[in-house]
Structure formats: C-alpha cells, structure tokens
Symmetry: C2
Subunit: 387 residues, 2 copies
C-alpha cells in the first residue's frame, strides 16, 4: 500500500483518485476535541477511495469498517482483495463509475489514522499516552475528512458490526450530512454482554507481560494476549452450529487431544495436541497478530464498549428523532449471537418512521455481515442503489 | 472443613457418617490406570456424605459436582451452605433420613482428591507432572470409592453441567451400578464451541507468567490468568438477557467508563473506570481465585473437553444402548447458551427407550441448574424420589 498526503487544494487530486482506487491516502485534520475531555493534536486520517466525486459533491458513499477492519474494502488498483470485495467497483452494486466511495480508518486504529502506535509530538509512539476515544470522536474526525474531500453530505453511510455503530453515530451526529444509512449486524448501544466479552479481550492483552502498560513499541509486542483476545472474539463472531458442523469434536490431523501431551506446553506456545477447532482459533489468532496493533485493539474495543447513540441526547427515541430525514436500512444476520437480531429490531423500532429489519440468512453467525457480501449487496441495491 | 481417612473397615464408620454429614472425608483408592495411558499412584478420593447407608447398600445417591464445584452439596453438620442447599437433608427431596448421599471431588480437583496441587511421592506438588485425565478416569476412581463405601449400585447418580457429564459417563461405564441417572444442563459429548471457550480459558491461565508451566506452588499463583478464565466462563454461564436486564450499560458507582482513566491500569489490576458488568465479572474472578487452584482448573477443563460417552464405543446410540436398564432424567435450562437445550434433546433421542427432555425455566442461562434448585428438586422428586 502507498501513503500520501492529498487534499482538495491539489487540483489534480480528483482525477488521480479516479485512477488510484484502493490505495491508502491520508490527510491531516488538525487537533481534535475529545468527548472524554482534552484534545488530540495533529490528527491524521487515513482512508481509501474509489471512483470520482462529482461536481455537486453529491455522489459520495462512506463505508465504515469493523473492529479490526482496514480501509481496504475493495481491491481497486491495489494488489489485494478487500474485505467486501465485489460490492464496490465499476458495475458493482456500489458502482464506482457513478459513486465516489470512501473508507476511513477509525480514530485510534493502526491502518494509517492516528492511533497509539503513531508518533506523538515528542518523536516517540503514543503508547500508554494515547487518550480514550469514542465512536463519536471518530465520527467527528471522519467529518473533518469529509470536509477536506469536499463532501457536504453522503449519498449513503454504510457499515457492519462496529462499522454499523459508526454509520449510525454518523446519522445521529450529522443527520444533515447523511441521506441514507445502513446499519448491518449492529445496534444502538453496546450491551452488557458485548461489554463483558470486550472486557475479557482487553484484559487478555493488558495481562500479557509484554504489554508493559501499552509502552511495548521498543520491545516484544503482547502477541499472546492479542491472540487470546482474538480467539475470544472469533468465537462470538461464529455460531455454535457453524463450529459444530465444521469441526465437531475432530482432532487436528496428527494430534491427539486425549493424551498427556495435551498438558505440556512449549515455551509460551499454545497446546500442541489439539482439537481441530483449537487449531482453527490458533490460526485466527496468528493472522490477526500479524496485522494488528494490540494498543489499537484495546482503544477501538473500548470505543465500541462506549457506543451509545443516546448518550447525552435524552432517550434513544429522542436521540434518533433527529434522523427523521435519513433513510435507514437496518439488517441483521439471523444466526448472529453477538449482535442479536432482536437488537436490530429494537433499533428499528426506535427510529423515526417505519423501518423493517431485513434479514441476512447465514448459518455462520455475526461474521455473516462479511461473508454474505452478495446478500448485503442485494439489500443495498434494492434500497440505496436502485438505478 | 475436616479431613479424615475413613472406610468400611472401620466398624464405627456408618454411624459416624450419619452424624457428620457435610464434612470432608477421604479414602485412598490405590493406583489408577488412566485412559491416556500410564497410571497415577496412590490416589486419594475426597468426598462428603449425608445420611446412612442401609444394610442392603441400596439407598445410595451420588451427586456429581460441576467444573469448579466442591463436594459441599449441602450444609449438613458443617458451618457452610452447600451449592444445592435445600435439595439434600432430612425431609428434603433427597431425604437423608432415607438416603445415603455422596459427593466426590473429581479426579484432578483441589477439594481433597488427588490433583496437581497434591504432594507426589517425592514430597513436592505434582504441578506440571500431573497427568492428563478424562471424565471417564474420574468415574473409574469414583467407582473405587463406591466399592470402599460398600455401594454396589446407586439408587441415582445426579449431576448438572460437568456433573451431568460425569453422571452420564457413570451410567455408560457402569450401567449395572446405576439404577437412575439425572443429566441436567449437559450433553453426550463436548461440542466444538464448548471446546473453543474452554481453550480460551486454559490459555488465559497458561499465558500468565506466574503459571510457570504449572510449577508455581513455591511462588506467586497465576491469579490474573485464572481470573480471566473465570470471566470468560462466567459470561457463558449467564444469558445475554440476564446480563442486559441486570446491568445494561450502567457504570459502576463512582466510576466513569467514558473517561481517559479507563485506559490507565494500576499494576496488573483490572481497569478501574468500569461498567457495572465489568465490576460484576471482576467480583466473580476474585471469588474463584480465592478458592480454586489454577492447575486443577486446567486439568478439569481439559477433562471436560474430552467428554464423549461414545469414545471407543461405536456410535453414540451403540454406546448408550448399554444403559437400557437405567432410568434417565434429562433436563435443560431453557435459556442455556453453553449447553443448549437442543443438545439435551440429542442426548435424549439417542438414549434407549423414550426419554422426554424436561425444561427448567429460568432467564439466567446455564447457571439455572444451580439457581433453580427448587425446579431441579421437583423434577427429581417426580421421577426418582416419589415416596
């Protein structure tokens, strides 16, 4: 990926964007006031974009990534497929011949936006000095990015899981800037259970001796803790039925979990005599550890724990009343047991007007919002991209 | 609690038991061959009992404890209430004026039975040298205890959660010694999801630097790891709805989770600006850490992962066919999301004859098998203790 400072002041920029979809860009948005008080100086927002903004600035679509997602929604001119590959591109549901599509890395992230691994003013990484941020803080930062891109209002803001929380927070914070909003596999406020699972993940990292209270950038990273956090999270992303069908009680090939070797560990490494499902979770852990910063995992997880569009805005209905001009698509994965469909129903019921929750059929659980890209696309085409 | 060697060779023993219900006792059962190979020398089985064994040895009831349970089912003559208080005692459903009730600490446990914290032949604790054991191994050890107590067959073997797995394994391993078997909130074989959640718990302990590969008895115990394991487990023991109703998004009194203090930690201690549900889970963690050994947690969790009454016995139906002479009570908590009612249905369908799954109504989730002692008692009274 390629990083470069770009902005509307550069007159060649719009054409360049059209030819550089799916490549990482970034802009400085200055100092950002934070909901918990104080401010974060010199914030950089990283993003990718696809297509070209029209002269009226009316064809922009914001796609919001999930907890460990990146800005890379779609391959574009890059070498790598995106996490919603097939949804965005020339002739796709979100047709980049017609729409200008943006995906910004969440505030606190590790995909280019200012986060704990970024270099602070004193030349050292923020580490433990990175402040507490909320979903709302990120939305304010994303609005500054939109300002710089010349986008006064979005044709649509779309997200799944934490991306759905970010999309909803956009609609409630800036209803005049959001014409359509898709909230997929997400809810109005993180629940006690979501907070509980998040606490376990955050503790898994904090309790890793390599974490060093967040100041580990000059030493070994807390990879075991981050790997454990991912395992816990990943179980909640999948359904009991999917794991049962896929792995059952099978042993990993060549390994015997009913053996004394089961209790022997090799250094800090996981058990070597495993069930298949353990090997699968080890693999998920390894993959994330190779691409994500542990401090960002904590900061973004804590931001998600804070998610509550009603905070400081009266009742949920009162908070949502300001979105009366926004068209909503609320969708849930039928087998989701982290963001239960009932939570989407509660959100839809509290929205102004009549919003029917659309179901995404998948046996996989929460991750259906990622894997069922066809179903998500159909819902979006039907309601937001009809032409 | 009081520990003493007792056995049928002591002629005053049966009378003494009648007067010492709910006090910890133990017997040596010698060397035990293990399913994974090899043997464990000089095994001690700890147990409590209530009531008096009749001359025919026909009035004995075995109650099997769950993962972190102890032998202390009922207060008896002790100072402490038991974990199924009200179920066992004079005039209770399991009437100790009529029945002789036994609860044995699981093999590998830390409530008196030989486990990793026990002293091995060389005078040092087993620690990392403690072998891998299975539910089936414990049932074999429990059968030796029954032999010593003069119990040739049980009026009933009863258990919930892992206790249910142990009860079922008893019925399949020794069908001629089990006249009735109650399997509450448990299933025929641990599932992929149960294994996955168990892996996370086991890793939480193994990754604690104090764990020292299990040889921590001369130093600090891996309390942070054990506490995290308990938090993960406890979430699965409760329902999403119960946590939502009880805690919602409330902050813990005097704490502000939407604050920069949220990201500061005090040594290795958990976050101090918490949501109520976090404080609740911290409390659950602290309670367990104060009463349970981390090595035993791993050994018993791995034993539960191994739970599969069909292992080496053909299909599940073939394995269960040998229980044709056993009367079963299979019960599930309707809101259980760790041992889903569907898993109880699968077990019941695979049992010989026609067994209807009884529902325990509780909004609490899996822990309903403990909290709904009245409902459990009613089911037992109706089917096993009718007189």
């Amino acid at each position: 990926m390629e990083t470069g400072e770009s902005g509307p002041s550069d007159s060649s920029w719009q054409a360049a964007v059209g030819q550089g979809g799916g490549l990482l860009r970034s802009v400085g948005i200055g100092s950002l006031e934070l909901e918990a008080g104080g401010s974060l100086p010199s914030v950089t927002m990283a993003y990718e974009c696809w297509g070209t903004l029209n002269a009226a600035g009316s064809n922009a679509v914001l796609i919001q990534h999930a907890l460990t997602g990146s800005t890379h929604v779609s391959r574009g001119d890059s070498e790598e497929n995106g996490w919603w590959e097939g949804l965005v591109g020339p002739g796709e549901v979100i047709d980049t011949d017609q729409y200008f599509v943006v995906c910004a890395n969440m505030l606190g992230g590790c995909y280019g936006t200012t986060g704990p691994s970024s270099i602070a003013g004193d030349g050292a990484p923020y580490g433990s000095r990175f402040p507490f941020v909320t979903i709302r803080d990120s939305v304010h930062a994303e609005a500054r990015l939109a300002d710089q891109l010349g986008i006064t209002s979005w044709h649509a803001v779309i997200g799944g899981s934490m991306g759905g929380a970010r999309a909803l927070e956009w609609a409630v914070t800036f209803p005049e800037r959001v014409r359509r909003c898709a909230v997929v596999a997400a809810c109005a406020a993180s629940t006690a259970e979501q907070i509980a699972f998040a606490q376990a993940q955050v503790l898994a990292i904090r309790q890793d001796p390599n974490f060093a209270n967040g100041d580990y950038y000059d030493g070994a990273a807390p990879t075991l803790g981050l790997g454990l956090a991912r395992r816990i999270a990943h179980i909640t992303y999948r359904s009991e039925a999917e794991m049962g069908t896929r792995f059952g009680r099978n042993s990993q090939a060549g390994e015997n979990p009913i053996s004394h070797g089961r209790l022997r560990i090799d250094g800090g490494s996981p058990v070597q005599e495993r069930y298949q499902v353990e090997s699968y979770l080890d693999h998920q852990a390894r993959k994330l550890v190779g691409r994500f910063d542990a401090n960002s995992y904590i900061v973004i997880t804590e931001a998600l724990m804070s998610h509550d569009v009603g905070r400081g805005r009266g009742t949920l209905e009162e908070a949502l009343a300001r979105t009366a001009g926004v068209e909503f698509l609320v969708a849930a994965v039928n087998s989701d047991r982290l963001y239960f469909p009932a939570q989407s129903e509660e959100l839809a019921a509290a929205l102004p007007g009549s919003v029917e929750v659309r179901r995404i059929d998948s046996a996989i659980g929460h991750d259906g919002f990622l894997t069922e890209v066809g179903a998500v696309g159909e819902l979006l085409r039907e309601q937001f991209f009809t032409d």
